[in-house]
Amino acid sequence: MTDRIAGALILLLALGYGLEASRMQVSFLSDPLGPRPFPYIIAILVGLSALWLLFKPDPNPTWPPPRFWPVLGLVLLSLVAYAYLVVPLGFILTTTLEMTLLSLLFGARWWQGLIGALLFTLGVYFLFTEGLGVTLPVGRIFG
């Protein structure tokens, strides 16, 4: 059943992808093939495979217990928050927070997670910025 739903969604994706391709405007400077044929081929390939899934689904996967979904949502939200916060708050602060959160979810005590995260983040920050010359966000609030 799950595979059937997946197949339906993928079919929709393929159709959408193909539709978007048909809307592409071909300029006269382009090559004889143009930007459209390749996406069309892909759309057909994916669409046909999706149809197969609809008609011959695999057995359902084992889903995790319901209490897992809020945890999953939390982790994903934290990753999104990370992306938005890493520049204003700086690498060290955001990464420490993210690591601490994950440590807690994996069963560490809060002080273990915090200390481990802080030390690791500091170490890694200096290793990369001083040692390898990578630029990492310092944090706008720190000026």
């Binding site: 799950t2 090559d31 994916v46 899934l53 440590s103």
Partner: protein, 502 residues
């Protein structure tokens, strides 16, 4: 012999104390860079080129350092693939398949050791090839035009069936998805933006690293969260050493993959990643039921690891003989050479022999150094797995953040990474294979661009794709590759039947 004399001179250059230091330094730094998920050989080499200017190094020393980093990073990349199921770069994607299975079975040590040995043997063989066949192969590589490349990519796609796992159609969908990702961005030939939906950050297309880390690393974190075994050791620390028996059993795989990888590496544009895909599939098909590819077979590690190192050596051929970079990393080396005053190309062998032969000699040395460095380190790496999960997993994720952010200094990539992470989790739950997505992403771009270039040259005549002997040969190979599983199955049945009669 002239070559031998030149090589001896080259060793003279390579063994100068300063250059020896650079080889070791390069290998060490390279391995460290490769081990960190997200920072691959290209970033590593790119980061350190300015260093070579700052230190005012002579060209041969700079090249030696960079080559050491390149090789070291390839080996390091396979370490994270095997231990953590996180491919740090394209050439280690395939290694993760059997490599991580082996880790779960307590065989991380032998897997890492196999990667080291395969890399060493392949690397050494490819240097021999570089030395002896270099100029010859360069002539052959020049004959590859868009039509030939397209045929090669089609052949590359036929390797999909080996990565497919149980459900071929799910693998097709995964590949198709990768191809879709490859079409995102500004189309180089017509100039229009495809599938960017107004996002400026997507104009350059989907970055391989962002997709790979999101799909593999983040989804791995989510999967582990689900399993929820707090403080558990992620894999038993079982055997550390590779047994002689296992090594000998894999030797023919290593040799075949080395040759294959070397030849593919020689072609500019086709590099270590394609080499590793093709080698894996070839070995899987050749060995058939005798091996357990996908279940944790050491040869499943030997094949891609040998092929990618051999390809790295092969990629030096177009660089040194023609001045054509064979891959991203060699492109950077080209840049470094030019700014150091050396112009690679046919005259390089005459005008700057000490650079060329010094490099070749130090590639031998580098391969040996890597082996010596890494075999003892295998034990250390495997012990890393014993670090408690609550620290190890967030730590790996933190480093992945750096790797992803470092691509474009754009937090948007981190957002993409999260999206792919969720996608990867769902794909794993629904038993969609992940590796084909990366295959599609890598091959898709090359495939489309070569197809369109070919059509431009031929003005739309499809026959052009089949016009040269090389192209036809590749198409035949591709066809055989796709159809062979059927033939082999039939032969086996017949063969078994006759034996039973005796």
């Amino acid at each position: 012999m002239d070559i031998l004399q030149a090589l001896l001179n080259g060793f003279g250059v390579a063994f100068q104390p300063l250059n020896l230091l650079f080889v070791v330094l390069g290998c060490l730094v390279g391995t460290l860079i490769g081990v960190l998920p997200g920072i691959g050989p290209i970033s590593g080499v790119a980061l350190l080129v300015p260093l070579t200017f700052a230190l005012k190094m002579p060209p041969e020393s700079a090249l030696i350092l960079l080559a050491g980093i390149y090789y070291g990073a390839m080996y390091g990349g396979s370490t994270t693939s095997i231990l953590l199921n996180i491919p740090g770069e394209t050439s280690s994607v395939v290694t993760a398949i059997d490599g991580h299975k082996l880790t779960k079975q307590g065989q991380a040590g032998p897997a890492l050791a196999m990667a080291a040995w395969g890399s060493f043997i392949a690397g050494t063989l490819s240097v021999v090839g570089l030395m002896t066949l270099g100029p010859l192969l360069a002539q052959w590589a020049i004959r590859f035009g868009p039509a030939e490349y397209f045929a090669l990519m089609v052949f590359g796609f036929s390797t999909l069936s080996a990565l497919a796992g149980k459900n071929m159609f799910k693998a097709l969908i995964a590949t198709g998805f990768g191809l879709m990702l490859a079409t995102v961005g500004q189309d180089p030939q017509s100039g229009i933006s495809r599938y960017t939906f107004g996002f400026l950050q997507l104009e350059d297309g989907m970055d391989f690293l962002v997709v790979a880390i999101g799909l593999f690393a983040v989804s791995e974190v989510l999967m582990l969260l689900e399993e929820k075994a707090p403080g558990a050791v992620r894999a038993q620390v079982g055997r550390i050493y590779l047994s002689f028996k296992d090594f000998m059993a894999s030797l023919s795989t290593i040799l075949r993959s080395s040759v294959l990888g070397f030849l593919i590496g020689v072609l500019p544009g086709a590099g270590a990643s394609i080499a590793s895909f093709v080698a894996y599939t070839t070995e899987k098909r050749l060995l058939g039921a005798k091996a357990r590819f996908g279940e944790g077979d050491l040869r499943g590690v030997a094949a891609p690891e040998s092929a990618n190192n051999a390809a790295a050596g092969g990629a030096m051929i177009p660089l040194l003989t023609l001045g054509l970079p064979g891959s991203g990393t060699t492109a950077i080396m080209l840049g470094a050479l030019v700014s150091l005053g050396v112009t690679p190309g046919p005259q390089m062998f005459e005008k700057n022999p000490e650079v060329v032969w010094g490099l070749i000699a130090s590639m031998y040395v580098g391969n040996a150094v890597l082996l010596m460095l890494n075999l003892p380190l295998v034990g250390l790496f495997v012990r890393l797995l014993a670090v408690p999960a609550w620290f190890l997993i967030p730590a790996v994720l933190a480093i992945s953040f750096i790797g992803v952010y470092a691509v474009n200094n754009n937090p948007f990539d981190l957002l993409l990474m999260a999206v792919f992470g969720l996608l990867g989790y769902l794909m794993r739950k629904l038993e969609f294979p992940l590796a084909p997505v990366l295959l599609g992403l890598v091959l898709g771009y090359l495939m489309e661009i070569n197809l369109r270039r070919a059509m431009t040259i031929s003005n739309g005549d499809v026959g052009y794709l089949f016009s040269s002997p090389i192209a036809v040969g590749l198409w035949v190979l591709a066809g055989l590759s796709l159809l062979s599983p059927l033939f082999i199955a039939r032969f086996r049945k017949q063969g078994l039947g006759r034996e039973a009669e005796l």
